[in-house]
Structure formats: structure tokens, C-alpha cells
């Protein structure tokens, strides 16, 4: 899966979870950029991303992820092609 395709899919997940069709995430997007993205919604977001890509984040990855770009890195390293 290309990085571009990963971001397209991430956009869909973010829009569903936050029920906001205007969201577009980029490499540098963090929780500060999206109004409803607090630590509680984060749990649900992570689970939705995992389900969408059919992969699991480890606890260490969830804790250290800094922005959506790093999230995409982990996703790409786990789902292969």
C-alpha cells in the first residue's frame, strides 16, 4: 500500500470517528490540530485504525507515536504491500 493510499484511508477513519467530513490529516497532524481528539477519543481512534488496516499497535508504539506521519510509518511497516 502506498503512503498516499494509507493517508487516504486514515482520512476516512478520522472522519468517521470524529463525525466530521472536513478533516484531512497530514504527516505533521497531531491531537492539537483536531478539536475532539482528546486522550479518551484517542482510544477509539487507535482501535478504529487497527480494525481498518487489520493490524495491532503495541503498547510501546501507542505511547511513543508523535503525529499521524509516525502512525503511518508503523502501519506501513506492519501491513507490507
Amino acid at each position: 500500500m502506498t503512503r498516499e493510499r494509507v493517508f487516504e484511508t486514515l482520512n476516512e477513519v478520522f472522519r468517521d470517528v470524529f463525525d466530521d467530513e472536513s478533516i484531512t490529516v497530514e504527516e505533521e497532524t497531531t491531537a492539537d490540530d483536531i478539536e475532539d481528539w482528546d486522550s479518551l477519543e484517542h482510544i477509539n481512534l487507535i482501535a478504529a485504525v487497527e480494525q481498518e488496516f487489520g493490524m495491532k499497535f503495541s503498547m510501546g508504539q501507542v505511547v511513543s507515536m508523535k503525529n499521524v506521519g509516525e502512525m503511518a510509518d508503523i502501519i506501513m511497516s506492519q501491513i507490507g504491500d
Binding site: V13, V17, L40, N44, Q51, M59
Partner: protein
Amino acid sequence: MKELEYPFDSEYILKNAKKLKRMLLAEETSRMKKKIAVLGGSTTHDIIRILELFLLHQGIEPEFYESEYGQYFQDAMFGNERLDAFAPDIIFIHTSNRNVTAYPKPGDGREETEALLEEQYGHFAAMWDKLEADYHCPVIQNNFEYPFYRLLGNQDGAAISGRTRFLSRLNERFYQYGETHGNFYINDINYISAAYGLDKWSDPFYWHMYKYCLCLQAIPEFAHNLCNIIKAVFGKNKKALVLDLDNTLWGGVVGDDGAENLEIGQETSMGQVYAEFQSYIKAQKDIGVMLNINSKNEEENAMAGLNHPAGVLKPEDFIVIKANWEPKSRNLSEIAEELNILPESLVFVDDNPAEREIVRQQTPAAVPEIGKPEQYIHVLDRSGFFEVTSLSEDDRRRSDMYRANRMREKQQAEFADYGEYLRSLKMKGTIRSFEPVYMARIAQLTNKSNQFNLTTRRYTQGEIEQAAADKRQITLYGKLEDKFGDNGVVSVVIGHKEEDALHIDLWIMSCRVLKRDMEYAMMDRLAEECQKAGIPKIIGYYYPTAKNKMVENFYGLQGFVKTEEDDNGNTVWQYEIPETYEKKNKYIEIERNGEKDDKRKSI
């Protein structure tokens, strides 16, 4: 909303919760408002978020109080102004085995474990007692799921010092508490976690990452299970099953194949599946569910199928049998009418997706996606349509009572004069102030009655007990018996004294005794109680809902005069009790023996 009906897609619900909530709130439907306090021993955020969806779907609009993280015990025990001001209608305590603070050590004997058990149980029991004393509302308490590891291996569940055994015994103590406290309900996460898969349920990731005692993906199952208890407590249970026959209760089409060739009984695998399903359906009668048939068949063929020697269900198990070629949606509406219940209290079970769709479109009945025959029991059972909160004698006998009603109706047709018919019923009534044995049934009635209900005020058992104990209130329940059987408690009236009048807070009656003079017998007794207490006036209130139009002019019929009416149709009625009150009930003999006069409250 189909997305929230069992079997549902949990991940879809979690991901789209915001959208689902928006859609639910946009539905034009009236919902009862309830205040729910969630006292958590672990994170409760997503539990509340998903529970809200299921409650909205059940017609309950919740307002939540959420304790600070892990503060369930403190909130309950040490006074809490915010919780007091919130005044919950129901309290849910969300604890898990993560909140058990001490376990036996391997090798501990009976005495040490007994002491530990007492200590852990005491922590909870003290809290429940306090909540009961402070809030008088129903309390829902999780039991404990099994631990996610077994220190003693297979002995963990068997040895006295095993943790699994310890949790089982603690659960048993919880159940014993429930047996002696009517307003206390167990949310059985022990069962739900097992059904979900304990390893997945207890995934430590969610505990250490977010302090959830269960995995996020299990929350919809958890919330649905919890919602079933809440909606049952607030009277939102379904009341009757409406069943198709061919390929639903047996394999094959009786009209084509002949009764002798149906798949039912022990000879084939499919026959066994249908026999087990019939046993499951038959057992529903014991929890008060009324069984009915809605089938496209010649009646003769339907009866031949139901009389199959290997069948478990027999024609006499059903109250209404509709076997004809009318649209099933029309049959279903007629069944509701004949049972005197609302169509939304029915659950329609049919293997044919086209029939399900038309009933779903045309009626408000619940229509589960029932799956394959071997899944029927699972889907129906887990849907929780008939969630049991307390089993009253009336529940067990409901089908008999409704059958007796059908016989009364048949008899009625034979009498030229209605009064003659009423006399022939040889009715005996009992009308008394609330008594302890009937508190649960009375509370249940206040939550279930929608049609013959003047104010639609709902009471918990605690509130009923309070009303009974309050000297400023007059409480009456009425039982009715006739030659066909005992109808049990069928009517309830609660009023409170204010200045020189009794204000009626609640007047309800079960529709199955409509036009039997019971409403007059209650009025007679109410007038008598008022006279005894020196109250000259009775003020009645009627608040219209979508369902109680039948009693719009009830007070008028009782001789009240309308004194107020607002734009919403709310009316106020007044009745001056004449010095010589003439009894309105002519056909029910009222039983008065056995009532001690000194027990009656003076006002």
C-alpha cells in the same frame, strides 16, 4: 435502528458512535428521560458513550453522572453533593476483578479465605446499603469475570485458596444479597465475558494503556447487556412472541409436505434443532411471555403441524393463532389488539426475510434478524427482549390469565346483556393499602402500564415502599378474581393529601380487566378512604401521552368536573365527595375480611 439490534457489528458501532447518536436524536419519537449514575472502578468513558446509544434506541434518553476515575466507593460512601444534586433514577456500579484488593495465598485454609471473603464482600455490601438508604433507587452491580491467569492451574477453580474459586464464591455472596434486596440487579459480566472469550475480553493492553477492565471491542456487548437490565427496570421489556410456523418452528412447509413429513423431533439433526427451539419457546411462557402464531397457512394445516406428536409446542400453548393468507403485518396488529397490548410490545420471529421486512415497515414490532435455525435460540436469547428483573407469580401465570380472558370474551358473546355477563363471572376483588408482598408487582405495574395510565408516572420499588410508609399518602392496590381464574394485582392508585384535597399522583389499571367495574370499585374504595381521613375533595390529573388516550375522559366518567385544561391537553378534575356516597361498582364482590383496621394509616 438496525445497527443497534442484536446481532450487531461492534466495531462499526464504536467507530460510528457519533454519527449513530446524531441519527438517533434526529428520530421523531418520545423518550422517557432517566438519570443514570455510573460509579466506576475503572475507566467508564466509552461504556457511557455506547450505553447511551442502546438506551436511546430503547426509547430512554439518559443523563449521566460519571464518577471520577476509580472513585465508585468514595462516591457512594462519603457523601457527595454533586451526586445528591443529580438525584439518580438508577445507579450502576462498574467494578471488575481488578477492584478486588486481596486474594487468598496458595495454601490458605478455609478460615483465612472465609475472613478474606467477608472483607471483600463487606466492602461492597456496605456500599449497597448506603446507596439504598441515600438514594432509594435501583442499583445495578457487575459480578466478577474470571481472572485472566490461573496461578494454581486447574486447581485455581477447585482449591479453596484459588483465585478463580474465590471470585466464584464472592459472586455467590453477591447473588445472596440480591435475593434479599428487591432493588438490586446483577450485571452478569461473568457470563458475557465467557461468551465473548475471556482472553480477548481481559486483554491487559486495555487495562495498562487506558485502565479499561475489558477490551474496547467488547464494550458494545457489555453496554447492550447492561442496557437490557435498565430498559427492563423502566418497563421497556417486550411482552409477547409472534411466531411463524413453516421453517421457523419446524422444517418444511406443512401445507405442501404434510404434517407427517415435517422435520421436528429426534430423528434428524434438523428435526432436533427445531425441537430444541420449540422447547426454548415453550419455556418463555414460564417467564410471562405470551406466545402467538402468525402464519400463512390454512388453519387446518397449521393445527395439524402443531399437533405433531414429536412437537414440544401444542395449540394450547398459544393465545392467538392466526393462520390465514392476510398480510402478516395486519395479523400482527390484530394480535396486539386481541391481547390488549401495544404492537411495539411484540417480537416477530420469521425465517423469511421478506416477511420480516414488511412487518418492520408496517408495524413498530421488534423484528430480529434471526439467522439460521441453529442460531434462532442464540439470537433471541441474547437480544434480551424479555430480560427478567424479578419473577412474579403473575409472570408465571400470565399465559393462563390471557387464555382465561379469551374464554371470557367467547362467553360474553353468548350473553345478550353485558350486566348479566358480568354477574356470571362471579368476580371477587380485594382492595387494600400497599402490602409488602405486592411491592415488586406494584412497581412493575407502574412501569408497564401505558394505556390505562392517567399520569404515566413511573415508580421504582423503593419509591413504592416510601409511598406506602408516608402517612400523607393514600395507596391502594386492587386484585381481581373470577370464575376463570385469578388476575392478580391489576390496579394501583396513589394520592397525596394537600390542604383539604387528595391529589391523585397515579391511577393505573391493567387493560385485561377493562370494563369489568374494577375502575369503579377502586373509586368506591378511594372515596371511602378519603371520608375516613376527613378529606372532602379529590383532584385528578390527566397528562396525555401517545398511548393513554383511552382514559382522556376517565375522571369525567367517574363524576369529576373538569376545572383546568392547557394547550397540551393536560387536564385537572375535581370531585366533591357527597356525604352519602353511592357505590359505583355493581358486579364485584369486595373481599374485606382479613384486613386489620388498625393497620390502615391515618392521615
